[in-house]
Amino acid sequence: MISAPYLEVAVLVLGAVILLIESFSSKLDRRYLGYAALVGLTLIFLATFRVAPQTATSSAPFWDFYSADTTSLFFKRIALATTAGVIVMILDFAPLVATGIQGTTPQSGLGEFFALPLFTCAGLMWMSSAIDFVLIFVSLELVTISFYVLVGFTRRNPTSLEAAVKYLVLSAVATGFLVYGITWIFGATGETNLQKITTVLSRPGLEQNAALFGAVLVIVALGFKIAAVPFHIWVADVYQGAPTPVTAYLSVGSKAAGFVVLLRVLDPFLLLPQMQTLLVAIAVLTLIYGNLAALPQTNVKRLLAYSSIAHAGYLLVAVVSFSGRAVAFYLVAYLLMTLLSFAVLILVSQPGGDQLESFAGLSQRSPFLAFAMLVAMASLAGVPFTAGFLGKFLVFDAAIATHHFGLVVVAIVTVGAGFYYYFKVVRAIYWDAPSSSTDKIIVSPLTRAALIALIAGTFVLGVYPQPIFDALAR
């Protein structure tokens, strides 16, 4: 049996080793670094199954900060799987990195592009274990700072730079809110540990309003991470400008870790009626805005950005309905379908750009990629036999069980809208004739294997969710 904190250490060491090789070996083909990162991540992923889940039973003060329960292990796996998927995407994206950086050698900068996501991954894993505001803040910053670099990584590309500046400024504001909120909560309760805060809050005669105010500020900061309306302003531009693998990473990894922290932070506050009202309002706004704004998009990357806001809305419905199970399952489904769509996007957009027209006639240029995108869109829209549908099923079930019928009505309308914009992509793939290029698209064996794994996962979880439930329950 392994102790859980070693997992993060292993990821950090892996990242540091790759960075060292990058710095001191000039002749090596940088793609080998990517393969090394993949192998390392796979080994660490397998190691998570050897970790004994353990709660804060030990007297060591470390366990006041860090929890290794099943939930955090589960989200660590999500972080590792996402990072592995992103590394595969970076391997496909490598030619564009060269044009975006224009260094002295054709592959300059590529090694760092493999190392940085590993540091982000360690941050995401810490976030999923954090049960103390101090660790939450530190791990969140580790994630955010590595993302500052990643978003602006293709620095010769003006849109990437613009995205980086927007992300930097707005992210800093969100961090400010987080710290301010934490101070209010600390001031009101005298604690930073979430479990101790819960005990203090339930004490009779305590002035709750100060803590509540702090919690709202924390929600603002986390709303930024999970791309909830009205804290979503950065999303469309940053997603569109960032290198596509980074967009996928932001969209999945950042959101998943944001939600696990949100679940933990809300735990003491969620039963308060004011908090319920606030979250329902945010969920409704997020659902409506994300889906409606996605309708007219013609840029696939931007469309996926708004769709990511929309899915944050469904996840918030599950949060309001106290269903941790629905949140966890939905995030896994979201991981599969989002990585799938971004991986296809990278391959399709390299000659033609991110516009919807690049997808026109894809069924003739590459039937395999066309099918992969069809599965991704069907799952995002919520067609049965895909993981996305089962996720929506669980969300609707949770909302109905807790009598949030207003949310259900809004969600019905937005799911209908979702069918329109996801099927727009399907239409381009299957109805339209190829516009510019009719060349076949070549898919490398590694990417093909990754895509097949994602498609299979989407279908298997669509009818057999039990493995996820088991992983959460044990």
């Binding site: 069809l374 079930d397 239409r427 109805w431 969710p465």
Partner: protein, 488 residues
């Protein structure tokens, strides 16, 4: 096990076609196999035995989710309909200019989804199999359709997706309405439970709207005529003939037995809406000037009769409704099939531009005539037997009203629909096949003689049930007897 075969034969065939098996051959073989297996099930079926041929694979005990297939008389009848229409639709598919394999795969997926939904005893898969048809329908109409196909494809997809998601909410409400100890998605377990009367009304309403959109009940009907007019003929045959029956099947299977109190409360509204289907849509159908639109509207109108049988909430009416679902599926499939063939041969399906086609296409005229006679309920066809049962069932109705009631009024008004449908069908028949022939169209060829096989299949089954409705009644009455014992 045999049910697994009949459900997955079309789906496996669709996948095989996509990975390179010869399209038409595989599709025909798979559809004939499906028909053969469903015939075997029919012969081995014991009408008094409840749900039979049950197979179960546990999936998630936490959710009460199993993959369970099983048939009683009602679902067996629907599976037979699906298999027969699938054979006819595949046979009627002529030469497809591009992406022939995808076309056949889409057809098989629609049929497989419908059959799977009819065979499922678990609400999750009951719903999921039906949605399997969503993307194939979108592609079939959008790629191979005619006329304003793109708009039609969008409309049908968004409408059906929205209807389905409302239905999903209704199903979850049903699942949540039983006490936690008995909570299950299994139909048989739910049927043993009493749903509290206070919840029945709202659940019935949600299910009713969801199913109503799928069935094209007024005012949710606008997607149907356009979609059927623009769809390629085999797709229209399967969609109007089989898939649309899913909503009616759902009402018979879920809404009536599980929510009798809800059914009683909403029966007044339902009667008004179904009369709108029969009278208003009937008049709209008369006003149509194109053959394909006329057929599209007529299929919306006939839903009203089936609704009437369901609304009556007694054994007679429900049995009539189920047989009418079957009979309408056969006749509308025949009509859409022949219309598709005509569309390939003439420049326009406008009544003014056609006429005298019987000279050039005597066989098509004969077959279309049989379809018309079946559709208007001429005695001898299954439609007649079914409509008689529906009308008598509705007049008596299952709610034991003591005096002359809205049900009786509704039945009397609905009878006028028979006249309306005779008017538009016979007029369409006359203007298409008889009268002065349009100029340049005398050289067109008749439909292939090989098409006599699917036509004979559809007509024979309809005549068989028309002369011996007892075959279907024996299947259905034991299935319905449990539901209505309280009210009959």
């Amino acid at each position: 096990m045999i049910l697994l075969l009949v459900t997955f034969a079309p789906i496996v065939a669709a996948i095989s076609i996509m990975i390179g098996f010869p399209a038409r051959l595989t599709a025909l073989a798979a559809s004939l196999l499906t028909l053969l297996i469903s015939a075997i099930i029919f012969l081995r079926f014991n009408a008094l035995g409840g749900f039979q041929f049950v197979v179960t694979f546990p999936i998630s005990p936490e959710l009460g989710l199993n993959f369970t297939l099983g048939v009683d008389g009602l679902s067996l009848l629907m599976i037979l309909l699906g298999a027969i229409v699938l054979v006819a639709a595949v046979w009627f598919t002529g030469e497809i200019e591009h992406h022939e394999n995808a076309f056949y795969a889409c057809l098989l997926l629609i049929a497989g989804g419908a059959i799977g939904a009819f065979a499922s005893l678990n609400l999750f898969f009951f719903y999921a199999f039906h949605e399997l048809a969503l993307i194939p329908t979108f592609l079939l109409i959008g790629i191979w359709g005619t006329g304003n196909r793109r708009a039609a494809a969008w409309k049908v997809t968004i409408y059906l997706a929205l209807g389905s998601i409302i239905l999903l909410v209704g199903l979850i409400m049903l699942y949540r309405a039983v006490p936690a100890t008995a909570r299950s998605l299994d139909l048989r377990i739910l049927q043993a439970e009493q749903i509290p009367a206070s919840l029945q009304s709202s659940i019935y309403l949600v299910l009713f709207i969801g199913f109503g959109v799928l069935i094209s009940l007024v005012p949710f009907h606008t997607w149907a005529p356009e979609a059927y007019a623009c769809a390629p003929a085999p797709a229209a045959m399967l969609h109007a003939g089989v898939l649309k029956k899913f909503g009616l099947y759902g009402l018979l299977r879920l809404a009536l037995p599980l929510l009798p109190e809800g059914a009683r409360q909403w029966s007044g509204i339902l009667l008004v809406l179904l009369l709108a289907n029969i009278i208003y849509i009937g008049l709209v159908t008369i006003a149509q000037r194109r053959l394909d639109w006329m057929l599209g509207y007529s299929s919306v109108m006939h839903m009203g009769y089936i609704f009437l049988g369901i609304a009556s909430a007694n054994i007679l009416g429900a049995t009539g409704a189920a047989i009418l679902m079957f009979a309408h599926g056969l006749s509308i499939a025949l009509l859409f099939g022949i219309t598709g063939e005509i569309r390939k041969r003439v420049s326009s399906l406008d009544f003014d531009a056609m006429g005298g086609l019987a000279k050039a296409m005597p066989f098509a005229a004969f077959a279309f005539g049989l379809g018309v006679f079946a559709a208007i309920g001429l005695p001898g066809f299954a439609n007649f037997a079914a409509e008689i049962m529906v009308v008598f069932g509705a007049f008596r109705n299952g709610f034991d009203y003591q005096h002359f009631h809205i049900f009786q009024w509704a039945t009397l008004l609905a009878l006028w629909g028979v006249v309306i449908s005779a008017v538009y069908m016979l007029r369409a028949y006359r203007r298409t096949f008889f009268g002065n022939s349009a100029k340049s169209e005398l050289v067109i060829a008749d439909i292939y003689s090989s098409f006599s096989v699917p036509i004979a299949l559809l007509v024979t089954v309809s005549l068989l049930l028309g002369f011996f409705p007892q075959i279907a009644v024996n299947l259905l009455v034991p299935a319905f007897r449990n539901y209505f014992s309280a009210t009959q």
